[in-house]
């Protein structure tokens, strides 16, 4: 399902057009409309609560994009992505709290943006470290090494050592006003929403561009057939590590965003379940960047709806409220089972079919 057909009757005449971002004016219009909705309409019409939900969607999507890059594009199955998100979050927090920033950078409000970038790079390098075994192992064995990343990073290094910095026990909290972008201190959910949507848009652009250039093709080549890739001059180990780097980089961005969303940080925010959750998101979402986005929207919104449904039910069955965490996990498992059986190619495949139906209309053959 790699190709979306042009609308009936449209043809390209130059290679530039065929390789362009937005293939036709209609598509261009649709994308600008979408950007308008997420940047202007949503902030205007959504209330505080749903903006908070949107922020969670964005956070999940940023995490899931990294997982999509590893699993979906390079075939490197990972169950430890939360570790890299955690590394990003901790790097960003420590930089904001402990780094002796020059006065003018603090005044300009550049400390947090710089820390996002540094956090992303550190998380990328950390990810490469745990990607090194991928040079020798594949499949199930690689899953175990990435799980090692999770347990070593979060349960050992972060919990035992990094959290103790400052001597305040387990959690960091960022006082109001420390997270500042330019003149704006991040105080309301709406401001956080704008940070989220900007980071998400930039990440998607970056990733989409990578995937249509040389590096992205090399990743797909390794996923589909590594022996043939090698005979075509692709250095498999180098590109696998590069894939780990970029996935970790995106994870680091997600982590740094989490800091701004939560203003507090604890190793408990990055359990192994989060890694599993992100894999579930892309299983439900399906292939491609849009798969990661659809999956995050679906999972987060479904969970919110479940929560809303459980509140009136709680009047009659109070246990539901107590056990909500378990119900959530159960719903997660159920959703994955249902998708694997009834919609194994995920939501993005359905979306692709719908798009092609309209594009090819009236000659759908």
């Amino acid at each position: 399902m790699s190709r979306v057909w042009l609308p009936c009757g449209d043809y390209h005449q130059r290679y530039t057009e065929d390789q362009g971002w937005w293939q036709t004016n209609v598509i261009k219009g649709k994308m600008i409309f979408l950007l308008l909705i997420v940047f202007v309409v949503f902030p205007l019409i959504l209330d505080e609560y749903w903006i908070g939900v949107a922020n969670m969607v964005g956070y999940t999507a940023l995490g899931a994009l990294g997982v999509q890059l590893l699993i979906g594009y390079a075939g490197l199955i990972t169950l430890g992505h939360a570790a890299f998100i955690a590394v990003g979050a901790y790097t960003s927090t420590l930089l904001i709290l402990k780094f002796p920033w020059p006065e003018f950078i603090l005044n300009l409000g550049l400390a947090y943006p710089i820390s996002i970038l540094v956090a992303a790079i550190v998380a990328g390098l950390w990810s490469v470290l745990f990607g090194l075994p991928s040079a020798r192992v594949k499949g199930f064995y690689l899953i175990l090494t990435t799980m090692a990343a999770q347990f070593i990073t979060v349960d050992f290094i972060l919990t035992q050592y990094v959290s103790k910095i400052g001597g305040r026990g387990q959690a960091f909290s960022l006082p109001p006003g420390t997270i500042k972008i330019g003149p704006w201190a991040m105080e309301t959910d709406l401001q956080v929403y704008f940070v989220m949507i900007t980071l998400l848009t930039l990440t998607i652009i970056m990733m989409a561009n990578l995937l249509r250039s040389r590096v992205g093709r090399a990743w797909i080549a390794i996923r589909d057939n590594d022996i043939a890739a090698e005979t075509l001059g692709i250095n498999i180990i180098w590109y696998k590590l590069l894939n780990f780097f970029v996935a970790g980089f995106i994870g680091g961005i997600a982590g740094a965003f989490w800091v701004c969303n939560c203003a507090a940080l604890s190793p408990e925010h990055f359990p192994w379940f989060l890694s599993l959750w992100l894999v579930g998101v892309i299983l439900i979402g399906g292939a491609g960047i849009d798969g990661a986005i659809f999956g995050s929207i679906f999972m987060v919104v479904i969970m919110e709806l479940l929560q809303m449904a459980s509140i009136p039910l709680g009047e009659h069955y109070p246990r539901i409220l107590f056990d909500f965490a378990f119900i959530k996990e159960m719903a997660f498992g159920l959703a994955i089972c249902a998708f694997l059986i009834y919609e194994p190619r995920g939501l993005s495949y359905r979306w692709w079919q719908i798009k092609n139906y309209f594009n090819l209309w009236p000659f759908s053959y």
Partner: protein, 273 residues
């Protein structure tokens, strides 16, 4: 399909010297030597299990022979990894198709030109300026040279695994060509094709071997004796890891041992003609 043209450049481009390859106690290759001159089509024939594909894999770097040397343009390349050998100019097609099934034909061929592009993660993620230009330039080259040569214009946007077998073989040849190799290892390019497709494929091989633009040396593993006898300049005959003979087709065709080992006792040409 006549005899191939004159050899313009007779220097040795690839030399395999006394290589041994064992899998456990089975000798897949026991002291095989081969010398390929620039500009020729050198075929390797032999019955099933003779070690032809193993030989290709050794030249290509997928297997490391236990003994013996492989020279490419005078350099020993035994320890060079497969992707470096591709950069040196050794292209390869496979007997069992190794296409990227989920990708379009165009993307498959584009994959072949990996080593000729330069963008990295930073320039690739921005995709402007030089990266964009080189992608367009590459696209132009692929469309106007490779796709045009192989006559696969109509299927360039189709997903590779949906195509008929003969076309997939052609796409794989295109992918190997996009590497712009100096020497191309063709592992049974005609296996499983019908007569018309075989003729097409033979013409493509002659084209890439003879045309000024390509001038590619070919090492051909093939079972179709008609084609092999017609288009090769030299033929190496293997049997269970040993060389029976190496020489021009006329000589090989007359060699009694070859006839016994491979060509069968009744008829010289086991061919579809």
């Amino acid at each position: 399909m006549g005899q191939g043209g004159e050899i313009k450049d007779g220097d040795t481009i690839l030399k395999v010297e006394d290589i041994h390859m064992y899998f456990g106690k089975v000798a897949a290759l026991a002291g095989v030597s081969l010398e390929v001159k620039k500009g020729e089509i050198h075929s390797i024939i032999g019955p099933n299990g003779a070690g032809k594909t193993v030989m290709m894999n050794c030249i290509n770097g997928l297997y490391r022979p236990q003994k013996g040397n492989i020279y490419y343009k005078g350099q020993v390349i035994n320890k060079v990894s497969p992707h470096k050998r591709a950069e040196l100019g050794i292209g390869r097609t496979f007997q069992k198709l190794e296409l990227y099934g989920g990708m379009t034909v165009l993307d498959n061929i584009r994959m072949g030109s990996h080593i000729h592009l330069k963008s990295g993660i930073l320039s690739g993620s921005i995709y402007a300026g030089r990266t964009k230009q080189e992608e367009i330039k590459e696209r132009k080259y692929i469309e106007e040279d490779i796709i045009d040569l192989l006559e696969i214009e109509s299927i360039r946007d189709q997903v590779a695994h949906m195509l008929p077998y003969g076309l997939q073989k052609r796409v794989e040849l295109g992918r190997a060509l996009a590497l712009r190799p100096e020497i191309i290892l063709l592992d049974e390019p005609m296996a499983g094709l019908n007569l018309e497709e075989v003729e097409d494929m033979a013409r493509f091989i002659l084209d890439i071997n003879e045309e000024e633009q390509w001038k590619t040396t070919c090492v051909l593993v093939e079972h179709d004796m008609g084609v092999v006898m017609d288009i090769s300049h030299n033929i190496l005959v293997l049997n269970f890891g040993n060389v029976i003979t190496d020489g021009p087709p006329e000589e090989v065709g007359k060699n009694p041992e070859v006839m016994k080992a491979y060509l069968g006792e009744e008829d010289l040409y086991i061919s579809r003609r």
